[in-house]
């Protein structure tokens, strides 16, 4: 049969955002693909050259609407590397709670979007229901529902609200029970298994060479995680293990990538529950902003506002979708108040080309299942 190119996107349920996947098909079989990105390129890197270090946090929140906190924290750690700032221990714990809650919310958003891709609408409704709990908790921390603007250079915006630990524990315990419900409707659904098992094989070494990281690599059977390889924050004090999936000889398929994310949500929830027992100062304490000195010692310390030319900072961060990274060069406008150059490493920008190559040899009907299983997010891809 004659080969031909067809365009999937920019408006297509498979894309989870605005981009085009050009697919070359021979009958029903995919023989070549070419992703076309950049539909929502906003020039964040350029804009940030005219913003000071606190203002940039809000732009980083908006890099990914499903995972705002992980992005603003990734930036804050790089900014602290540039400005040579140390953070109070309690603030590190609060950040960890915020990031892991966001990771759960992001994976729920992914599962909620992935279920309809493979013909399971109930999964979407259930996931969004539980995501609501996480968003309520994050709203208590940051003040808004999606873009929290929560971390600050030198700490976080405010302490845990009174009673937060209690509500968070109750919700996470409920959530841990509900994860079993997802497993029940998905692992026992023949349609879900037929659509996800045995398609989209990817091997660990190949993925690393292609720059793919995070849950996608852990699904292929290796527990590499930036949180232990290049440690930051307080993960060493907590009881957790990176989720890792036992893949098949051919590598990880879509089903492994689903399993690893469900397991990762469970690990994040257990991690937060464990953290409340270790909080310096106690999880039920609330340091108000009114007492400046105690607030600065525990929640938000002092930080310089300027970085000189020649100073640089970077930080590798375990985002919900892989390894994200910010590189900052100091000495920009306003006598160093702005970065001279800010560069963002988006995990999905690198993963989408790989995922597109991953679907060669499968049928057209497998494209949504394979693409969705890598968790694409176009906000961060196009920046």
């Amino acid at each position: 049969m004659a080969e031909m190119w067809i365009s999937m996107g920019p408006q297509h349920p498979m894309t989870h955002g605005l981009w085009t996947l050009k697919v070359k098909v021979d009958g029903e079989t995919v023989v070549d693909t070419e992703p076309d990105l950049g539909y929502i390129h906003r020039g964040v890197e350029k804009i940030c050259e005219a913003r000071d270090f606190t203002q940039i946090t809000t732009y980083c929140d908006r890099l990914c609407y499903a995972s705002a906190n992980t992005w603003s924290h990734a930036y804050i750690y790089a900014a602290e590397d540039l400005l040579e700032v140390e953070v109070p221990e309690r603030a590190e714990y609060i950040r960890m709670v915020a990031v892991e809650l966001q990771r759960i919310a992001s994976h729920l958003m992914w599962l909620g979007a992935y279920c309809p891709d493979v013909g399971n609408l109930t999964g979407m409704v259930w996931c969004l229901r539980e995501r609501e709990m996480m968003m309520d908790l994050l709203q208590e921390l940051g003040g808004s529902r999606m873009h929290y603007n929560f971390p600050r250079v030198g700490g976080v915006k405010r302490d845990l609200p009174i009673g937060f630990a209690l509500r968070c524990k109750a919700k996470l315990k409920l959530f841990l029970e509900r994860i079993q419900e997802y497993e029940a409707i998905l692992d026992e659904s023949t349609i879900f298994l037929v659509r996800t098992q045995g398609v989209g094989y990817a091997k660990a070494e190949e993925m690393i060479n292609h720059g793919v990281s995070g849950p996608n690599v852990r699904a292929a059977g290796h527990n590499y995680d930036v949180r232990w390889a290049h440690p930051y924050s307080v993960y060493d004090e907590l009881d957790w293990e990176p989720a890792v999936e036992r893949s098949s000889i051919k590598g990880s398929d879509c089903y492994d990538r689903y399993r690893v994310r469900v397991e990762e949500m469970r690990q994040s929830a257990l991690m937060i529950l464990d953290a409340f027992d270790h909080f310096p100062g106690g999880a039920d304490t609330h340091y108000s902003k009114e007492d400046d000195k105690i607030f600065a010692e525990n929640i938000w310390g002092k930080a310089p506002a300027r970085a000189a030319e020649g100073q640089t900072g970077f930080h590798h961060f375990e985002d919900s979708r892989g390894e994200s990274m910010f590189y900052l060069a100091g000495g920009g406008a306003e006598r160093g108040k702005h970065p001279y150059r800010m560069s963002i490493r988006s995990p999905m920008f690198i993963t989408i080309p790989y995922a597109s190559k991953c679907m060669i040899g499968y049928k057209i009907a497998d494209i949504p299942a394979i693409m969705g299983s890598f968790d694409p997010c176009i906000g961060e891809t196009d920046r």
Binding site: L37, G38, E45, N209, F314, H316, P353
Partner: protein
């Protein structure tokens, strides 16, 4: 069991690179640097390399030192510095990821024993910097065939900063529209944001006074 790579392990791994990198002579300057923020001041390897030697260094890092992951390639434009107008910054990592072992026809997932990692396997960060003098056609060798992950990073760097990668197959616009004018790379410093200072923006919230930076000039 150790839960994370310790500062000593990272430092020992960086020392190992420093002792073995002697083959390149003057074209490579290496030092161990430490992160300055956060709770840990982990070591990483900082390398300054002459652009012509970059491919040899990359091959050596991949083959002899197991550097298997290209995190980011980016470029910076320094128009006021004639000797180093263009800078390319590469971030590499050694992850040590391998395919899961098959024992008795059964795949076994890998759970790394962190404490027993040798200096050749410890995860390590690399920052590599290359500078080019003032030129209208900046170009460094491509490493997309060594790490496939470098492919789209290089495309992006050319697209936004305008630094070309010699030997890169299929360079094209990735984030900007495909029909963007030739030679237009917005992260070069001659392109200014319309409002370079946020105060100007607040003074003109409605945008009535908004004019492009180059208005009135003959184009």
């Amino acid at each position: 069991m150790a839960k994370e790579v310790s500062a000593e392990q990272a430092h020992a791994a960086a020392e190992d690179i420093l002792t073995d990198i002697t083959d390149f002579g003057d074209s490579v300057q290496v030092e161990i640097r430490h992160h300055t923020g956060g709770r840990r001041k982990n070591a990483y390897v900082y390398i300054e390399v002459v652009a012509d030697e970059w491919r040899n260094l990359a091959k050596w890092l991949k083959k002899s030192k197991g550097v298997d992951y290209c995190s980011m390639i980016t470029g910076i434009h320094w128009p006021e510095n004639a000797e180093a107008t263009w800078q390319v910054v590469v971030h590499l990592m050694r992850t040590g990821v391998y395919n899961p072992r098959i024992i008795d026809k059964r795949v076994h997932e890998t759970k790394v024993d962190i404490a027993s990692l040798s200096v050749k396997e410890t995860p390590l960060e690399f920052e590599i910097s290359m500078t080019l003098p003032d030129t209208r056609t900046p170009s460094v060798p491509s490493v997309a065939d060594i790490w496939v992950g470098a492919d789209w990073n290089e495309k992006e760097t050319w697209d936004l900063v305008g630094i070309d990668f010699d030997g890169h197959d299929g360079m094209r616009r990735v984030l900007l529209p495909h029909d963007s004018p030739t030679g237009y790379h917005p992260l070069q410093k001659q392109h200014k944001l319309r409002y370079h200072d946020f105060n100007e923006m607040y003074d003109d919230a409605q945008g009535f006074g908004r004019k492009p930076e180059d208005s009135g000039r003959v184009k």
